[in-house]
Symmetry: C2
Subunit: 198 residues, 2 copies
């Protein structure tokens, strides 16, 4: 824990280490990236790096944890006070798509979806947070279904369908492509609302 | 090219090498897996392995290529003779979900979606095949839309939504889970048809 003045540059904050590591993992692969590569990319001493994180596993875990923090802050917190469940769900779809398209956070959030070997204990903690988000979406869908006529599909399958549609965007989206943000939000909202509440 | 009797066991066929490699890449990461690991897992001499593939890049490329072969053989070929576009699309959804859930092929097909660094030329060849599949789905959706009343969503967004729903399944599906194959196929088909053709 940093309790005194250190000689580290301001760029050595935990968040900067997580961002630089996520970029390196993405560019050259998780296994091929060493703690040395990370400290070199940040112009940080090895001691400075190990001061924050004891291992690459720990860095990977904290990237995933940070991705969940970002998701909660950008999607769940802003919709908390929307009373109408349908409006809350529309806002969730919009904000989640905006998060996925946000270049600055993409390297962090994408890490959640790739298969990286993480020690069991850390893996379970990340999975518990992911499941929390899925259950939130499922509950919200169920609430909208109750407020409309009955649906032919269950809220769980609908939640997985919606999260698949949105989380898959990073696989095909190109900023210079034909489908742009607002258009994508509109069409995905149309598809999902017609599909899950028909 | 093998032109004479070799001492290699029958397990050294190209497909077996691809399957074993895909499993190792999944279990221990692509970068952490060496050509030695692959030959050891197959009880194959290094010469035997290099006889088939000159490098790990080449193996990764052929796994992805094989994944596209499997997709075409299991999804596109069986629907080729279905005349009605709506029935053809329903069959595509069912067969693609069945492919994703098929344990034997999962390690092969999943490789398509993970971020692995592949040399540009090989990457382009894989991407061209992926795009071919996406365009096939988009065209089929457009055909169904023409045969019904107009839709509020374009066929491209609808194609990406459908492929996201289906390709995402490997992220959450558990064979012992609540949502089982036939139920999932029915609900995803309901969601997509109501969503894309409302």
């Amino acid at each position: 824990m940093p309790t005194s003045i250190t000689r580290e540059s301001p760029s050595s904050s935990r968040q900067d280490i997580l961002r630089a590591s996520a970029r390196l993992f993405r560019e050259q692969g998780y296994d091929a990236t060493s703690m040395n590569d990370i400290s070199a990319a940040l112009k940080l001493s090895k001691g400075g790096l190990y001061h924050h994180f004891r291992s690459k596993d720990e860095i990977l875990f904290h990237i995933m944890n940070h991705a969940m923090d970002i998701t909660e802050a950008r999607v769940l917190t802003p919709i908390r006070d929307i009373q109408d469940p349908e409006e809350r769900l529309r806002a969730l779809i919009r904000l989640h798509i905006e998060l996925v398209l946000r270049a600055r956070d993409r390297e962090i959030t994408v890490i959640l979806h790739e298969n990286h070997p993480l020690p069991t204990g850390l893996r379970k903690r990340v999975n518990a947070r992911k499941k929390g988000y899925i259950h939130f979406v499922e509950e919200l869908i169920a609430e909208v279904q109750r407020s409309r006529k009955n649906s032919k599909v269950g809220p769980r399958a609908a939640a997985f369908a919606l999260l698949g549609m949105i989380n898959w965007i990073y696989q095909w989206y190109r900023p210079e492509g034909e489908l742009q943000e607002q258009d994508l939000i509109r069409q995905y909202t149309e598809i999902f609302f017609a599909g899950a509440f028909a």
